[in-house]
C-alpha cells in the first residue's frame, strides 16, 4: 500500500465524529532551571494516528514521561478514557491500557526476545508466586503460558523478527530492538500506544511495512500518538499533527495545515517564534 493511499483514507475517517481518548491540560515540568514542558495541552482522538513533532529538545519525550507516570508533572492534568490519571504510577497507567515505548530502546538485554514478549501481558495467573508453584494451580499457569507463547510467536512474525526469537535481546541490532519494543508494548494488549521515534534506525523497506502495520492496528481500534522527525512520514500517515516547541504546543491540526504554517518552519529553522 502506498503512502498516498493512506492519506486518502485518513481524510475519510476524519469526517466522522470521534471521541477523545487522551486529554492533556496545562502539563508542566521543570528540571532545575530548565523548563522542559512549559504548558502543554492537547487532545487525541480515539482510533487515530496522531503525530507529535518538534525540534530536538522541544519536550516531546518529557511529555510522554509525564503522561505515563515515568516522571511526576509539576502541574496540569492527564485524562485517559475519561479517568483522571495525573500522578498515577507508570504501572497503573499501563493497566489503564495506555503504554509507551522509549526513545532509546530499553530491551531487557539478558532476557531472550521471547522472554521479553512473554513478560508483557498483564495480569498473568503465574505472577502470583503460590500459583506458579503449587501443582494444582500451576496447570492453569501452564495453560496460560501456552496461549501467551502462541501470541508471542504471532507478534514475532508480524514484526519479522522470528529468526532471533531465542537470541538475547542485548544481541539485537538497533533497528531490531525498536521492533522488539513495539512488539512488547502490543503484547500488553493496550488501547493506546505512545511511540517515541519508533522508526529511528529502521531500514526503509521495514519502515514501510511498520507503517502499514500501524494502519492495520488502527483499523482494529488502537490509537497511536507518535513522535517522528521524518516530515514525510508524519504528513502522509497522521490524522492530526501536534507541533511542540520549547516546551509548549506551537500549533495543532491536519497535516496540510501544519505543513503550511510559517511558525512551524521557523521553529525548525531555529528562529525566534512567538507562541
Amino acid at each position: 500500500m502506498s503512502k498516498n493511499a493512506h492519506s486518502a483514507r485518513n481524510d475519510q475517517t476524519q469526517k466522522g465524529q470521534q471521541e477523545q481518548i487522551l486529554k492533556v491540560e496545562n502539563l508542566r515540568k521543570t528540571f532545575g532551571g530548565i523548563t522542559a514542558v512549559a504548558d502543554v495541552s492537547f487532545h487525541v482522538e480515539k482510533g487515530s494516528i496522531t503525530g507529535l513533532i518538534g525540534p530536538n529538545g522541544a519536550g516531546k519525550s518529557t511529555t510522554f514521561d509525564l503522561i505515563t507516570g515515568v516522571q511526576r508533572p509539576d502541574g496540569g492534568e492527564v485524562e485517559f478514557n475519561d479517568t483522571e490519571i495525573t500522578g498515577y504510577r507508570s504501572d497503573q497507567v499501563a493497566n489503564q491500557g495506555l503504554v509507551r515505548t522509549f526513545q532509546i530502546a530499553r530491551e531487557l538485554s539478558e532476557m531472550t526476545v521471547l522472554e521479553n514478549l512473554m513478560l508483557a501481558p498483564q495480569n498473568q495467573a503465574g505472577e502470583a508466586v503460590w500459583r506458579a508453584v503449587l501443582p494444582r494451580a500451576r496447570t492453569q499457569v501452564v495453560e496460560q503460558e501456552k496461549e501467551l507463547r502462541e501470541q508471542a510467536w504471532e507478534m514475532l512474525e508480524l514484526f519479522e523478527i522470528e529468526h532471533v526469537a531465542h537470541e538475547s535481546a542485548g544481541n539485537l541490532s538497533g533497528g531490531q530492538r525498536k521492533l522488539l519494543e513495539m512488539a512488547r508494548v502490543l503484547m500488553t494488549d493496550p488501547e493506546m500506544v505512545l511511540l517515541d521515534e519508533p522508526l529511528a534506525g529502521v531500514n526503509p523497506t521495514l519502515e514501510e511495512k511498520l507503517i502499514d502495520r500501524l494502519h492495520t492496528l488502527k483499523e482494529q481500534g488502537y490509537t497511536f500518538l507518535f513522535v517522528e522527525h521524518d516530515m514525510d512520514v508524519i504528513m502522509n500517515n497522521c490524522d492530526t499533527v501536534i507541533v511542540m516547541h520549547q516546551g509548549s504546543v506551537l500549533t495543532e491540526g491536519q497535516p496540510d495545515a501544519v505543513k503550511n504554517n510559517d511558525k512551524v518552519l521557523d521553529a525548525y529553522l531555529g528562529e525566534e517564534v512567538k507562541i
Partner: protein, 435 residues
C-alpha cells in the same frame, strides 16, 4: 586416555545435567575429606564424623545461598542483613518453644507450631524492614539491611531483654549467654522418649545402633547423619522450589526488575509489590534455614549472627554464580568445604607432618619474615589454632579477587535458564496446536 580427552568426556557427561554435576561435586568433596581423614589417621568413627560435618555445613550454606539468590540473583535486591533475619528466625522459634518455667521463660509451644510462627515472623519483619528502602536504589536497601541486622544482634545481646516481661508476658533472649533450643528433632526416629536424659532406643534405633556398634560408630553420629539426610531432602525441595519460581511468570518479572525496573513498571507490573514479596519470602526462608542450622546444635547465641555470616553467604553465592540455583548449591558446597572447613584441615595436616616452632605472634610478624625469603614463620603462624579465622579471611579475600578477575559471573553464572513454564520453541507451539 589423555587429560585433554578426559576433560572433554567429563564436560560432555556433566555439561547439561545439573543433577550429575551436583552428585559429582558431592563425591569429589567426600573423597577429599576421606583422604584428609586417612592422612590424619582417623578411626572410622572420626572419618564418618568428618564427612558428616562437611556435608552438614555444605547443605546449610547451599540452602542459604539459594535463599539469597532469590533476592539478589533473581530480583537484584541487595540484602546485607541476612544474618539478622536468620537470628530472628532462630530466636523466635527458641522463645516460642522454651518452657514457661525455664529461665529465660518462653511460650512452651510445640516445635512445628513454633517453626511456622518463626517463618511468618521473619517474613513479615523482612517485608517491613524493606518497605522504606525498596523504592530506592539497590545500595540504600543494602545500607538499611546491614544496619537492621546489627540492631537485631545487639538487641538480642542486650541484658535488658535477656529475661524480661513485656505487657505481662515473661520471656527472654538469654542475652550474651545465648538461648537453649529444643533437642534435635530427628531423635524421634530412633528413641521412644527422645526428651529423656538417657533415652531407650525404639525398634529402628535398636536395629541400627547394634548394626553399626561393631564398626565403632557412636549413636550420636547415626543421629547426626540422619539429620544430614533430612537436610539434604530440604535442600532438594528448596532447589526444586527455586527452579519452579525461576521459570514462572513471577520469576520472569523478577528477572526483568533486576535488569530495568522502569521498563518493567512501564509494562504494567507493580514492581514494589513484587520486590516486597520476594524480599519477605527470601527472609522467611533464611529464618527457616537458620532454624535447621541451629536445631542440630541445641543453642543459639548472638555472636553467631555477626555481619561476617552474611558475608559468607554472599561469597558462597558469588562462587557459584548469581541467578542459577545449581550455582548456589555448587557455591554453598565449595564455600563450606574448601574455604570454611578447609583451612583447619590443612592446618592439622601441616602440623602433623611438619615440625614447626617459634611461630610469630601476629600475621604482620609472619609476613615481615618473608623479606628474608623465609616462609617458615608464615607457615608456622598459619597453622596455629588461633589464627584459623585470620587465615580463612585471607583465603576468602584471595578467592574474591580471583573470581572478580577471572569469573565475575561466578562458576555457573552464565547458565541462564529461560523464565517460562513451557518450552518456547515454535515447534512446541505447533505440536500443541495439533494435540
Amino acid at each position: 586416555m589423555s587429560t585433554g580427552s578426559l576433560q572433554t568426556w567429563a564436560e560432555g557427561w556433566l555439561g547439561n545435567n545439573d543433577v550429575r554435576l551436583l552428585i559429582a561435586l558431592a563425591l569429589a568433596i567426600g573423597g577429599l575429606y576421606a583422604l584428609f581423614s586417612v592422612v590424619l589417621g582417623f578411626q572410622l568413627n572420626g572419618t564418618v564424623n568428618t564427612l558428616r560435618r562437611v556435608a552438614f555445613l555444605s547443605a546449610i550454606y547451599a540452602m542459604l545461598a539459594l535463599a539469597l539468590n532469590l533476592q539478589w540473583g533473581y530480583a537484584g535486591l541487595f540484602n546485607l542483613g541476612a544474618a539478622g533475619f536468620m537470628a530472628i528466625g532462630v530466636y523466635t522459634m527458641g522463645i516460642l518453644t522454651a518452657p514457661v518455667t525455664a529461665s529465660p521463660p518462653g511460650f512452651g509451644l510445640p516445635l512445628p507450631v513454633a517453626i511456622v510462627g518463626a517463618i511468618l515472623v521473619t517474613g513479615i519483619v523482612g517485608g517491613l524492614a524493606a518497605l522504606p528502602a525498596i523504592r530506592l536504589r539497590a545500595d540504600y536497601l543494602a545500607i538499611v539491611t546491614v544496619a537492621f541486622s546489627e540492631i537485631v544482634r545487639l538487641t538480642l545481646r542486650a541484658p535488658e531483654f535477656a529475661n524480661t516481661r513485656i505487657a505481662g508476658v515473661a520471656f527472654g533472649t538469654g542475652g550474651a549467654t545465648g538461648l537453649s533450643l529444643p533437642s534435635n528433632p530427628i531423635r524421634i526416629l530412633f528413641y521412644t522418649d527422645p526428651a529423656a536424659t538417657a533415652p531407650a532406643p525404639n525398634a529402628l534405633g535398636a536395629a541400627i545402633f547394634s548394626a553399626v556398634e561393631p564398626l565403632g560408630i557412636e549413636q550420636t553420629l547415626v543421629i547426626g547423619w540422619a539429620y544430614v539426610v533430612a537436610l539434604c531432602l530440604c535442600l532438594g525441595l528448596l532447589y526444586w522450589l527455586m527452579i519452579r519460581i525461576g521459570k514462572s511468570p513471577f520469576g520472569r518479572v523478577l528477572k526483568s526488575i533486576r535488569e530495568d525496573q522502569q521498563v518493567t513498571q512501564a509494562l504494567g507490573k507493580d514492581t514494589r509489590l513484587f520486590k516486597i514479596k520476594t524480599f519477605a519470602l527470601g527472609c522467611a526462608l533464611m529464618g527457616l534455614i537458620a532454624i535447621l542450622w541451629r536445631l542440630s546444635g541445641g543453642y543459639a547465641s548472638p555472636r553467631m549472627f555477626k555481619p561476617i555470616q552474611t558475608f559468607y553467604i554472599f561469597i558462597a553465592l558469588f562462587i557459584g554464580g548469581t541467578g542459577s540455583p545449581t550455582g548456589s548449591i555448587v557455591g554453598g558446597a565449595l564455600f563450606a568445604s574448601l574455604l570454611f572447613e578447609g583451612p583447619s584441615f590443612i592446618r592439622r595436616v601441616v602440623a602433623e607432618y611438619l615440625q614447626l616452632s617459634n611461630a610469630p605472634d601476629t600475621l604482620v610478624g609472619a609476613l615481615a619474615e618473608l623479606g628474608t625469603l623465609d616462609i617458615t614463620p608464615l607457615l608456622a603462624y598459619s597453622v596455629q589454632d588461633v589464627s584459623i579465622s585470620a587465615l580463612r579471611l585471607m583465603l576468602l579475600g584471595i578467592v574474591l579477587v580471583y573470581l572478580m578477575q577471572r569469573h565475575p559471573d561466578g562458576l555457573l553464572g552464565h547458565r541462564k535458564a529461560i523464565a517460562s513454564s513451557v518450552a518456547l520453541s515454535q515447534q512446541a507451539t505447533r505440536e500443541d496446536d495439533n494435540e
